[in-house]
Amino acid sequence: MGNGIFEPEFLKRLERLSINMEKLTAAGSGGLRKSRAKGNSVEFSDFREYAYGDDLRRVDWNAYGRFEKLFVKLFMEERETMVNIFLDCSKSMDFGTPKKSVMGIQLAAVIAFLALNNMDRLCINLLNNDTVISSNVLGGRGQFDRCAAFLDKIRFEGTTNMDKAIKMKKFGGRGLSLVISDFFTQGSLEDLMKYLMFYKQDIVLLHVLSPQEINPELQGQIRLKDSETGEMVDVDLTASIYDKYRQTLNNFISSLKEIAKKYGGTYVTISSGDSLEKVLFEDMITTQIIK
């Protein structure tokens, strides 16, 4: 794997994890995701009295023996979920030490791994230049290699209008949408959320920032160049400017949190400087995105 992120040890740990879906979708074919619907799984859920038309195979004859009443065993219906990963592939993501793109790919891969491992269906969508490039819908553990190969070919370049790009994606039904981006994006994030809501998506915003963005350590007169647009701005970096920057960043994060909360989503700030373990086992577990 090009990004070299999946050590066997790490994968082993991943196998114990799964994506937490509060709202399990009713639709979709059988998967490993527990559904609220009762159905055809090995996992026992409840008993109820037999009613006409019930499958006789599900009658608990032992219970009949004890109570002389027909009871039917209810089992959890395990269903698959459609997991969509949206990865921002703008040039800005290919930035930072370590690069945000690496963290983005790693996160996408981990989620893909978890999804496939959970027998969910998975689609990886690359957002770039107002368009979306989607992988095939993958399902089954054996598909992870294909997924990894897809991720390996990603190029981070250009700008992204996430709102526009995501609207290019057609959703089949309910599902889980994870957006991995630095959200330095054009277009309205609110529109994006509305669009996802419309398609009954559980939304997770994974906000990846580089350590340099969280805590810039520049000094003096600097000509800042936008990696995406090439636009330049001269800044005299003083303490007060730094204060303002931090304030602006905090406001930005808060506004993203607000939006996520408003549309029932989950938001996590992730530093590309952190290890993947920390991100997974601290940040994401704390926010109960995975468990």
């Binding site: 040039k91 800005s92 993501m93 930035f95 930072g96 945000k100 630095d182 330095f184 994006t185 580089s210 340099q212 963005e213 520049l218 003096g220 007169q221 600097i222 000509r223 800042l224 160049k225 936008d226 990696s227 995406e228 647009t229 636009e231 330049m232 701005v233 001269d234 800044v235 005299d236 003083t238 007060s240 400017i241 303002k244 920057y245 602006t248 960043l249 930005f252």
Partner: protein, 600 residues
């Protein structure tokens, strides 16, 4: 603040060039970041975005800007002005007539004029050349062409007040002629009189104004049955009603007091009656001080009551007798006895007849002298003609008159005599001093002319009699300050000494008697002591403040006048700032260098 070379400010845009160069020069370390998304938000709320804010903290550039600005300023040759300074030829004219003694808040107008003139001298350009003219009764050029400011200031300081009447207008032609001597000049006239600069450039500094003043305008007396009645005219030249107390003194004794209330501009005649005749002089005084104290006192000399005696030798000349008898202060005696030996008279008049023996004392007046007269070479009788009264001090008030003479004697005019009346080339009347004796004559019989019918006759007789008897001039019971007191009323005097009211004594030589006494600046009583015929004699004279100075002093204010003319006299001078600025620029550049070295 002004600039000798304001064109230098045209270089000011160069300062902008420095700013531009700095802005271009500003080298930013280029750094690529993921996105300007956040930074744009930061900059949107930060002033730093504004270009000029970039200049902040850039001390080097600020210093360079300041240096450039100062260099341009230095090139413009700036100076601090203390008003516009006069330069070149400055003619300072200070009015020091009596009205300039009017005071305002304890300072007289003359004091103010002097201090203003001194200030003008101090503030004038160093190249200035001063001329100082003081105006009182006359125009006095105190100095001319003085370039030394200290000397000029000293001369201005030493100007003293006078009580004289004087007018700038009268002397404007002198000022103008001095002004025209110079190619360019400025006149500074300090006066309380309203005058015009006319074609001169310069300034009239008006010092006049209103004030509280009541003055004595006139004092006179009349004699009636051994008592004097004294008339004092008091004039109010204030803008308000004034109350005053008028006192009359006989020498040092208070004779009367009167209270007065005068409306603005009003004058009042005050009579003091029943004044004893024992006093030599009187003084009227307004007891309250006002803005012009000089006109609060007036003196009056009461005439000596000693009559002069005249002996007229005449057969029947009623004209001469009548003319003489009308003269106050003369006691006329008449005789036709040529054999009497007369003596003790002040004047002997011989009308056509001669005594056997001429008297040894007194003056002599011969009318139509006969042959054998020791003083004249008698000639034959000739035809007369139009007789012209000549211009002479003895012909006061009648010069230019003429009358006709039927016949006269062709008398040769003696060398000691001045001709008074002439018919053609012949002298018809003359007078002079011969061997210490005053002698006058006419070469014609009064009856052979229409002279007695002419108005000039009694005056001629009065003048001759007054001259010959040393009689005092009538009607001059006081003089005004600055006026010349004539002393030719006495002849044959020695060792005359004048003591002025301040006690200053001046001896007057014989040759100056004809000119008179001119140092009459002080108000009060002057004493003239002299010797005549071995007798010590004394005579007092009164000098008063001129009325018009008191009246004119408070005629109001006017703005003065200012004409800058061709401005050549003016130069924009003051404290030149060029050198200090250059020094400061050098220091600034040194400091900038230090900052630069440290910065690197």
């Amino acid at each position: 603040m002004g600039f000798n070379n304001p064109y230098a400010w045209a270089l000011l845009p160069l300062v902008g060039l420095i700013i531009l160069m700095y802005m271009l020069k500003q080298q930013h370390e280029e750094m690529e970041i993921s996105s300007l998304y956040l930074w744009e938000k930061v900059l949107a709320q930060s002033e730093v975005k504004k270009p000029w804010q970039k200049l902040k903290n850039n001390i080097l550039m600020l210093m360079q800007l300041l240096a450039a600005f100062l260099i341009i300023m230095a090139l413009s040759n700036p100076f601090l002005t203390k008003g516009k300074a006069l330069g070149g030829n400055i003619i300072i004219v200070i009015d020091r007539s009596g009205s300039m003694n009017a005071s305002y808040e304890g300072k007289t107008r003359l004091d103010i004029a002097k201090s203003m003139a001194e200030k003008a001298i101090v503030e004038s350009d160093n190249s200035s050349v001063f001329t100082l003219i003081s105006i009182d009764k006359t125009a006095n050029v105190e100095f001319s062409g003085v370039a030394d400011k200290q000397e000029a200031i000293k001369a201005v300081e030493s100007l003293e007040k006078t009580n004289m009447s004087g007018s700038i207008k009268v002397h404007l032609s002198l000022i103008k002629s001095i002004y025209k001597q110079f190619e360019s000049a400025n006149v500074l006239i300090y006066t309380d009189e309203e005058v015009a600069l006319e074609d001169m450039s310069g300034e009239i500094i008006a010092l006049g104004g209103y004030g509280s003043n009541v003055g004595i305008g006139h004092i006179s007396y009349s004699q009636d049955s051994g008592e004097y009645t004294v008339l004092v005219r008091v004039e109010n030249s204030s803008q308000e009603t004034e109350k005053r107390e008028l006192a009359l003194y006989g020498e040092d004794r208070l004779l009367g007091l009167k209270d007065l209330e005068l409306a603005p501009g009003e004058s009042s005649n005050v009579l003091f009656e029943g004044i004893d005749t024992v006093y030599k002089y009187l003084m009227a005084e307004l007891t309250e001080e006002d803005d012009l104290p000089e006109d609060n006192r007036a003196y009056l000399v009461l005439e000596s009551t000693d009559p002069k005696s005249v002996l007229l030798f005449s057969e029947k000349n009623i004209f001469i007798e009548k003319a003489l008898s009308s003269i106050k202060g003369l006691e006329v005696y008449k005789t036709d006895d040529i054999n009497i030996s007369a003596e003790g008279y002040d004047l002997y008049i011989f009308d056509g007849i001669m005594p056997t023996k001429l008297p040894d004392d007194g003056s002599l007046f011969f009318v139509n002298p006969r042959e054998g007269n020791p003083y004249f070479k008698s000639g034959e009788t000739i035809e007369g003609g139009r007789a012209d009264i000549l211009e002479h001090s003895l012909n006061e008030n009648i010069d230019g008159y003429n009358f006709y003479i039927g016949k006269m004697k062709a008398l040769e005019k003696p060398y000691w005599a001045d001709a008074l009346i002439k018919v053609g080339n012949n002298t018809a009347a003359g007078a002079g001093v011969y061997e210490g004796r005053k002698i006058a004559y006419t070469a014609f019989d009064i009856h052979d002319s229409d002279f007695p019918l002419d108005a000039s006759f009694p005056i001629f007789m009065y003048n001759i009699a007054a001259y010959l008897t040393d009689m005092e001039h009538q009607g001059k019971s006081y003089y005004f300050t600055g006026e010349i007191i004539p002393l030719n009323f006495i002849s044959g005097i020695q060792e005359a000494v004048m003591e002025d009211p301040d006690g200053k004594k001046t001896s007057i030589g014989e040759e100056l008697l004809d000119y008179g006494y001119s140092d009459t600046n002080s108000i009060g009583i002057y004493k003239l002591s002299y010797k005549k015929d071995q007798d010590e004699r004394e005579r007092i004279l009164a000098v008063n403040f001129p009325r018009e100075e008191g009246i004119d002093a408070f005629q109001g204010q006017w703005e003065g006048e200012r004409k800058e003319g061709n401005r050549r006299g003016y130069s924009l001078m003051g404290l030149n700032l060029q050198a200090p600025i250059i020094i400061f620029v050098l220091l600034l550049l040194a400091a900038e260098w230090m900052v630069y070295i440290r910065g690197n």
